[in-house]
């Protein structure tokens, strides 16, 4: 087993585990016992592969962005998760989990969502498989991601506003967990990132690892070599883990993860967990989270709903601690400018989440021959209002 992957107890170093009340134990334990068996089943794999190809549209292209490359004096390849069905990497995970839920005999699906991308991806697979779907979304996020709320509803999902706490992603996650406590038998919770109690972080990472297994081969085919840098944005961390997964052992590859600094790390309006966070327990796992000295979770802030989360997945906490991945912080302004830049140079409107990774390019010094793979985790359609307001178009 790789030193960067989960151990048999469900931990990455000291991070991970399953800090859950007894009411959640039977469901999480069932998942723990079954997920690898199901995922390794040839039947499951055949259905997963077929849906990835014919429904999601994989493999997603690895696109050499020439004008962007010219600007940075290196070869910038975009891993085009934005071209997936539903417009982000989130569908890789929801397809995997819906097939798993079916094999566990579950009839009802719940999910949390921040930007709405995971909610849409969940509503989509529920429509595809004819399962009931309830999505929890922070009341504030419902306002700032209206198009995605409409998409979920059109697909037949019930969208429930989380009115507690900061009314964003962490509160939506609490509400989803409460729903699961109250519906312990026939419901499966599709968590949208590499967070939550073991086995979720590992399971979601495995489903998202398709991003790097494709990208690695795609660059090998084009250039016959490994990339020098691999970059992604981090909310909970699923697109980043998916993008890093098959490069973790290639120590020559520098891995860079961009967190949301919001209005600035010291502004009090930030979601830069690796800088502001401390070890603790959030949503069922031991990880790094933003909290007061008394252990109360601090409400994060980012212009991007998908990065507005006070923690990172436990594997990220581990990769941060052992320095395999470098975590950087990007402000709202830097991300918005990078989003506009990509749009003007390449004709691609990125999700504001992904724009955080793009913004890091501005801050780096590259050699002429450097090959960079950057995960373009989603498209910016859902963010048009936000972009329009910001730039007063």
């Amino acid at each position: 087993m790789s030193k960067y992957q989960v151990n048999e107890k469900g931990y990455y170093g000291k991070f991970g585990g399953a800090y859950i009340p007894e009411m959640l134990y039977p469901n999480v334990e069932e998942l723990r016992q079954e997920y690898l068996k199901i995922m390794n089943d040839p039947d499951f794999q055949a259905e997963f592969d077929q849906l990835m190809r014919d429904y999601v549209g994989r493999p997603s292209p690895l696109y050499l962005a020439e004008r962007l490359s010219e600007r940075y004096g290196a070869n910038v390849y975009l891993k085009r998760e934005d071209l997936n069905h539903t417009g982000a990497h989130k569908i890789n995970n929801t397809i995997g989990q819906i097939l798993l839920a079916q094999r566990l005999g579950k009839k009802r699906i719940i999910a949390e969502t921040g930007a709405g991308q995971h909610g849409v991806a969940t509503a989509t697979v529920c429509a595809l498989k004819g399962l009931e779907c309830v999505v929890y979304m922070g009341a504030i996020d419902i306002k700032r991601q209206a198009p995605n709320v409409a998409r979920m509803k059109m697909m037949g999902a019930t969208v429930v506003a989380a009115e507690s706490g900061s009314k964003t992603l962490k509160d939506a996650t609490n509400e989803a967990l409460r729903d699961w406590i109250n519906n312990p038998v026939d419901t499966h919770y599709i968590i949208g990132s590499v967070v939550g109690p073991h086995p979720y972080p590992d399971m979601v990472a495995r489903f998202q690892s398709i991003i790097s297994s494709e990208a690695k081969q795609q660059l090998l085919d084009k250039k016959g070599k490994l990339p020098d840098y691999v970059m992604a944005c981090v909310g909970g961390g699923s697109n980043a883990i998916g993008m890093f997964y098959h490069f973790l052992e290639d120590e020559s590859v520098q891995l860079i993860a961009a967190e949301a600094a919001g209005k600035g790390i010291r502004s009090g309006h930030s979601a830069a967990t690796s800088v502001l966070g401390k070890e603790g327990v959030l949503h069922g796992s031991r990880t790094i989270l933003m909290q007061t000295p008394d252990g109360q979770v601090i409400e994060p802030y980012s212009i991007s709903a998908g990065l507005d989360y006070p923690g990172i997945g436990p594997q990220h906490a581990f990769l941060h601690e052992n320095k395999r991945v470098k975590y950087v912080s990007i402000t709202d302004d830097e991300a918005m400018q990078a989003g506009l830049l990509l749009t003007r140079l390449e004709g691609i409107i990125p999700a504001i989440e992904s724009a955080h990774a793009l913004a890091q390019l501005e801050k780096m010094k590259f050699e002429k021959d450097d090959d960079i793979i950057l995960c373009l985790s989603g498209r910016g359609d859902k963010d048009l209002d936000n972009y329009m307001n910001y730039f007063s178009f």
Binding site: K9, G17, A18, Y19, I20, P21, E22, M23, Y25, P26, S164, G165, K170, D171, N174, L177, R178, I181, N182, P184, V185, G280, V281, L282, H283, G284, Q291, P293, D294, G295, Q296, V297
Partner: protein, 258 residues
């Protein structure tokens, strides 16, 4: 003999009532007034909640009380400071209840020592995993004489209930159903057979039923089916009114006597 064992030795009727309330709600400094009022009114033991920002096993009433308590400035530091007077004013058993992250930041060992110093009998930490308790914390709890109470839900298997029993001291917290706090419990045949299934295991610990108990009827049924029953949200709701201290006796009477 510890306080809970004494309680059960002295009281042989099937009418044992425990009350939960959130420390710091509705006012920061009334923790001991409420505790003392409850004892005088006839509550048999207490759970004092320490608030957490993300109480994921709790329904709206306790979520709200936790949020207000935090705004009022309640922390474990403040609570233990208040509890220095606990044993001057309250003699019934007292357990602290809250989520693991707050205990973890305070320090598990320091938490147990503080409990022992002020005369708290034990702790209920719903999201502290059994394996972690067993590996890292059991010795610390035991050496400080602090009991740790685990939860059991209807979906918990018999084997696991036995394991929980072996790690518990004082009592096991039997959840009336798999639910967040504050739902109204309807006692059904299915529920009674679950209570009977657990009783038939002949556990070492007392069985106390909680979650969703809100009135005389479901209190009687739950307390009758086990060793005692706990009321949380229904009591916390009483604290919303200005004269909450005056209301305590009537509330306890209405639960016990109907």
């Amino acid at each position: 003999m510890n306080r809970l064992a004494q309680l059960f030795n002295n009281k042989k009727d099937k009418n044992i009532l425990s009350i939960y309330f959130t420390a710091g709600y509705p006012h920061l400094n009334n923790t001991l007034d409420i505790a003392e009022g409850l004892e005088k009114a006839g509550a048999d033991f207490l759970e004092i909640g320490f608030p957490y920002s993300d109480p994921l096993a709790d329904g709206p009433v306790i979520q709200h009380s936790s949020q207000v308590a935090l705004q009022n400035g309640m922390t474990l530091e403040v609570l233990f400071e208040q509890l220095k007077e606990l044993r001057k004013r309250v003699s019934i058993p007292v357990y602290l209840m809250g989520y693991f992250n707050t205990v973890y930041q305070y320090g598990v060992e320091r938490f147990c020592k503080s409990c022992a110093e002020v005369g708290v009998d034990g702790a209920i930490i719903p999201d502290l995993p059994m394996y972690e308790y067993e590996e890292l914390y059991e010795d610390i709890f035991k050496s400080n004489g602090i009991s740790n109470v685990f939860l059991v839900s209807p979906q918990t298997t018999d084997d696991r209930v036995r394991k929980i029993d072996s790690l518990s001291t004082d009592f096991i917290y039997l959840l009336s159903s798999s639910a967040t706090t504050g739902k109204d419990l309807k006692v059904s045949d299915e529920r009674l057979s679950y209570f009977q299934r657990i009783k038939a295991l002949n556990l070492n610990n007392r069985i106390v039923i909680g979650f969703g108990i809100s009135n005389h009827d479901n209190f009687k049924q739950a307390a009758g089916a086990a060793d005692a029953a706990i009321i949380g949200s229904a009591f916390v709701r009483q604290l919303e009114s200005d004269d909450y201290l005056q209301r305590i006796p009537e509330f306890i009477r209405s639960i016990k006597e109907g």
